[in-house]
Amino acid sequence: MKSPSYQRRLLAVVLPALLLLASLPARAADTLYLYNWNNYISEDTVQRFEAHCRCRLKQDYYSDNEEMLAKLEAGAVGYDVLVPTGNAVESLVRRNALREIDRARLPNLRNIKREFLDTWFDPGNRYSVPYATSVTLIGFNANKMQELGLPTDSWALIFEPKHLKKIKGRVTVLNSQRELMAAAMRYLGHSVQEHDPARWEEAKQVILRAKPYWAAFSNSTYIKDLAIGTIWVAHGYSNDMWRAQQDAAAAKRPFAIGFATPKEGAVLAVDNFVLHKSGRRPDLAHQFIDFMLAGENAADVSNLIGAGNPNGAATPRILPEIAANPGIFPPPAELQRLEMLRDFDPKLRRTLSRMWTEIKVR
């Protein structure tokens, strides 16, 4: 009977595997779990923080607030810090999912510019601390746009068939119900905080008319697609466009990436640190937030990520060419045309989410 040799051979497979497993680095006891936007904190900053706290910072990424909220609703437990946008903060607060911030542990909170404190989504900043801002706008391949004579300062570029005809299959839009519908609303001249379903219905029609010309719904891959040159126009976040611009330049691509806020207005996002109730390390979480509020660290999110900055102590450290970029730091006149998203009541939310399902399938 061959069996003993089989048993021995089985052992020969399993044992080394077990040994390999045992030899892998043990999980660090001090780990901070951060659920963050992709491309929203630089490697440098992370390393400096890990050295500072002698702990590990472990990140998971999302590329849409809805995705983050859905994941939490589906039972994700144990994230210490999240980085929701204003409207998602509102929703999380209402859900009673957040831990109150202990201001005594955040001496650097004073660095935040006053206009970013005490906002509508969190009066008195009981739960949230602003981290960075971005504008949802249009990024484009500047050479192609010039060649084709297309306007880059209007939502018409992604919604008007007469423009889209020239760039069919070369456009991506965000795979985000709130952001894409908001863009269509601005294009129609409506507010993104509109409550009338009929107006949203109009936005849906605009989207459905343009959809056949788009290549894909994409929340993150457009950074690479723009830099490589397979996609010429993308609806997305200013910091991602900045990244695509840098990547294309670094790889010496034969074209340049540009981005601009459409003249019809756009969505401004203020993204904030909040503490999730299920987090096991509020101590590390506070330490992290205070670290990120220090001027030299806060400046990284502008200098290395290309995001707007609510931190006053960071302002003098921000590179002049970034501070002067209107897509990253909107000038006062442009700020007038920017709106923030708001959380809706369940009924409207459901109506919109079903409109979105329809948009995706039609």
Partner: protein
Amino acid sequence: MKKAQFWLWTASLATYAFLYIPLAVVVLFSFNDSVLNAEWVGFTTRWYVKLLHDDDMLHAAANSLLIALVSSSVSTVLGAMAGLAMHRYRPRWLPFLVLTPVAMPEILLGVSLLLFFRQVLDLSLGLFSILAAHITFSIGFVAVIVRARLAGMDESIFEAARDLGATPWATFHRVTLPLIMPALVAGFLMAFTLSIDDFVITFFVAGVGVNTLPLQIYSMIKVAVTPEVNAVSTLLMALTLTLILVASRFAPDVLKGRS
């Protein structure tokens, strides 16, 4: 006839090329000295070095290995029981229970387990939920392999053992177990491969901080595609390749057992 032979070879070689060229490109571009990885720039091994220092990736790999080892061990035991039971006692409900999870599109199992862990157990997702899910879909594969092995066997051996006065346990230990051992090894290796490869179901039931390798690769593909993805893919290929070769040495029929 010559002409038919020629076309048969041409078509087959074309299909083999279709199977291998994409993977060759992945491997080749893991040595590409370009962050964008859009065209060939130059040779480097720096992505492999980077991989060795990527803590997230190493943890994901450790998780994947741990999950694969535990889940394939448990499912080998449960699957062997199910295979034995199906062969010997033929309960009507068992084949349905064992085989349906294998036959269903994975997303359905993922969705139902997500709802189950959330609504019924009110359990936070994590290692346990992933293990339970992997065991659920692996049992069927092991059971099928074990049953196939038993079906090809002469029942009189077991009767002889009983006639000689062996207790059920002794019969199992001395006769049945050695006989089905190749099937167990094959089943174990198959369950291991399935577990380490699984993306869809894990995607639904994975919790915070318990990333597996496929999940890590998925988030890399979606977010920042550097040649590091190619490097980790190449290494993973090497690993599963070894496993398959081992499996095919142990029990050549395992390859057919899947179908």
